[in-house]
Symmetry: C2
DNA sequence: TTGAAAGCGCTAACAA
DNA sequence: TTGTTAGCGCTTTCAA
C-alpha cells in the first residue's frame, strides 16, 4: 500500500505538500513541486486510504442508503421493480459525484443510527420507511437526511423528501375512469398509510367532485403474500357485479388481478376495467396492457441524491418537499362504457 | 461522540482495558471491571468508530458487492428480479454476520480495485460480471473474492464461484420438451457466453442424445432493448411453422414472447410451446403460466456470503466452484404433441 | 512556498 | 490483571 508519507519521502518533500497537491490546494505550492508530486502519484499508483481520511476529517464520503427490503425468503416476494431501479440509479449518481454507497436494510431507527455514527456517513437516503420510522431517524440523527416517498402527518415541512403527487395523480386517473363512464369503482391497496393513503384520497376526491358517493365497502385491503392476495381477490370476485372498474394502488396488484380474472374466465376490460399505478414492467408485461400512471423512479433517485448533496454542502434547499409528477398512460385495460 | 478514551477516563481504567472488554478478551480482565465497563458502555451509548478501527487493524468489516447494474436510464430496463432478490439477500446475510455492505456498480477492474483498496474491504462478491472481468479482478486483488454465476474458460478452478448447474438443468428441461414430443425446438438468448452458453450447450446435448439434429438456425440472438426483442421475435414469427417449441434462456424473454404471441393471435401452448428459465415473478405472472426451471436466488446469495466469510477467516474451502441445482416446474406453456 | 507536529479513535505489543 | 506507548494514514494548524 502506497502512502502519502512514502511519496513525500521519495520526493524529499513533506507529507503536507503532497496532501496539498492531492487536494488541489495548488496556490500554496509551486508549479514545479506540483508536477513532481503528480508524477509520483501516478507512478506509484497512489490510492488514498478512506479510513484514515475519514478519521482525520470528520466525514467519510459515504452515503447510506437505508431501505426496507424484503428480508424474509418466500414472503414479500414482491420484488418491486421500483425499488430495484431506484437502488441502481442512486448507486450510480452517488458514485458519479465521488461518493460511496453503503447499503443498509433496516427499519429500526437505533440500528440505522448506529450504522451512521459508526461509519461517519455524510448523509442518508431513506427508502420505503414509514413516517414514524422517518421521524425517529430525524430526531436521532444530526446528519443530512433525505426521504423518498414519505408522508408526514404533521405538516411540519422540515423534512427533506422526494415524493410524487400521489393524490393529484390518483385523482387524475380516477377522473379518467369517470370520464369513460365508470361510477362503480373499487380501490385496492395493501394498506392505507403513506403513499397509498394519498392515492386513496385522490380517488375519493375525484368521486366526490363528480357527486359519486364513495361507498365504504368499495375499498379492499389486499392481504399479505400470494395467499393473501388471492383471498382478497376472491372477495372481489364474489362482488364483481357491484363494480365496473378496479383501481389498484400499484401495477403489481393490478397485473396480478388481470391474471386472476383470466383464470376465472372474466375478461378485462370487457367484464371489468382495471387500472394500476407506477407503469413498471408489470404494466407492460400484462395482457391486456395496463392503463396506469407513469412515474419515473430514476428521476426520483437522481433528485434524492442531488438533495442530500446539497444538504451535505450546507446549501439551503429551496423546496424541502419535492413532489414529482406522473403521467396518465392509456392502454387496453379500461373500457368505455358510456352509451 | 463517545470514545473509548472517555469511557476509560470516567472509570479510571486504561483504554486497553475497555478495548479488551469490548472485544471479549475477557480472560484478561477481572469480572468486576468487565461489569463496570459494560455498564458504562451501555450508559454512554458507546458506538465504535469503524474508521478508526479499520485503520488500526487492517480490515474493515466491510464487504463489497460489485455488480453490473443497468445504469442507463430507459435502456436495460430488464429489472432483473434475480439481481434484485440477490442484493437483498446478500445485504441481509452480510449484516447478520456483523459486516457491512458497500454496493458498487462497475465492471472496470481498476475502479473496483481502487474501491477495494481505498476502503480496505475484507472481501468482495461479484455479480454479473463476465469471465474476463472476473479474471482481471482476481489478478489485481489480493483479497477474498467470490463470484456469482461466472464461467471461466480455462478450467483453472482456483476461482471461488457460486453458480448453477446450468448445462445440466437446461438439458433436463429440453429433455422434458422432447418427452412431450417436441423435436423442432429453437433456443433464444441475448448472447452465448457464460451462463447462457452453458444453457445452450445443455440444450444441444439433449437434442444430440436423442438423435435430433441441431440446426444452426434454430438459435436466435435476442436484440437489445424492447425494440431489439421485438425485432428478433418478428423473425421468429415469420418462421414459426418451423418450430413446435421455444426454449428461452430466461423467464423474462419467455414471458415477453408469450405476450408477443398473444398480440399476434398465436396461442401458447396450442400453436407453440414455450419454456423459460429461472422461475421468477415473470413465470408466474404470465398467462399461460410458464413451464420453467426454478432456481433459488436466495440460496445463491447466502452461499456466496458464506464463502467469502470462510475465505476471510482463512478457512480452506473444500469446493471452490459450487453449482446449485434447479428444479423443473411444469405449468401450462407446453403442449403434449405426442399422438 | 514548505515543513513540523499534533491529533482523529482505536489496537496491540509490551511492560508493570 | 492492568496500563503505557507507539502507530495505523491522513489532515491541518502554525511556524519557519
Amino acid at each position: 500500500m502506497v502512502t502519502i508519507k512514502q511519496i513525500a519521502a521519495e520526493l524529499d518533500v513533506s507529507p503536507t505538500t503532497v496532501s496539498n497537491v492531492i487536494h488541489g490546494n495548488t496556490k500554496e505550492v509551486s508549479p514545479q513541486t506540483i508536477q513532481r508530486v503528480r508524477k509520483k502519484i501516478e507512478e506509484l499508483q497512489y490510492i488514498p486510504n478512506m479510513n484514515a481520511r475519514s478519521l482525520a476529517r470528520s466525514s467519510s464520503k459515504m452515503i447510506g442508503l437505508i431501505i426496507r427490503y424484503p428480508t424474509m425468503e418466500g414472503k414479500n416476494v414482491v420484488q418491486d421493480p421500483f425499488n430495484s431501479e431506484l437502488i441502481g440509479v442512486i448507486e450510480n449518481e452517488v458514485r458519479k459525484l465521488g461518493y460511496f454507497l453503503m447499503l443498509y436494510a433496516s427499519d429500526k431507527a437505533d440500528e440505522i443510527q448506529k450504522m451512521a455514527i459508526t461509519w461517519n456517513v455524510d448523509g442518508i437516503i431513506s427508502l420505503g420507511l414509514n413516517a414514524a420510522e422517518c421521524r425517529k431517524m430525524k430526531e436521532n440523527l444530526k446528519i443530512p437526511l433525505v426521504f423518498i416517498d414519505c408522508y408526514f402527518q404533521d405538516d411540519d415541512e422540515s423534512y427533506t423528501n422526494v415524493g410524487l403527487k400521489d393524490r393529484e395523480c390518483a385523482k387524475r386517473i380516477t377522473e379518467y375512469l369517470i370520464g369513460m363512464g365508470h361510477k362503480k369503482i373499487a380501490f385496492l391497496a395493501d394498506n392505507l398509510v403513506g403513499v397509498d393513503y394519498e392515492r386513496w384520497q385522490g380517488y375519493r376526491e375525484a368521486l366526490e367532485e363528480h357527486r359519486i358517493p364513495v361507498q365504504k365497502d368499495s375499498f379492499f385491503q389486499i392481504g399479505f403474500g400470494t395467499a393473501g392476495i388471492i383471498e382478497t381477490y376472491d372477495k372481489v370476485f364474489r362482488r364483481i357485479s357491484e363494480f365496473t372498474a378496479l383501481f389498484f394502488a400499484s401495477d403489481y396488484y393490478a397485473s396480478f388481478a388481470v391474471n386472476y380474472f383470466y383464470d376465472k374466465g372474466i375478461r378485462v376490460p370487457e367484464d371489468i376495467s382495471v387500472v394500476g399505478f407506477d407503469d413498471n414492467i408489470f404494466a407492460r408485461n400484462t395482457r391486456p396492457r395496463l392503463t396506469t400512471m407513469r412515474q419515473n423512479p430514476s428521476e426520483k433517485g437522481r433528485t434524492a441524491v442531488a438533495q442530500v448533496l446539497r444538504l451535505i454542502k450546507g446549501e439551503r434547499i429551496p423546496v424541502l418537499n419535492i413532489r414529482l409528477d406522473a403521467e396518465l398512460v392509456i392502454r387496453d385495460s379500461v373500457m368505455d362504457i358510456r352509451k
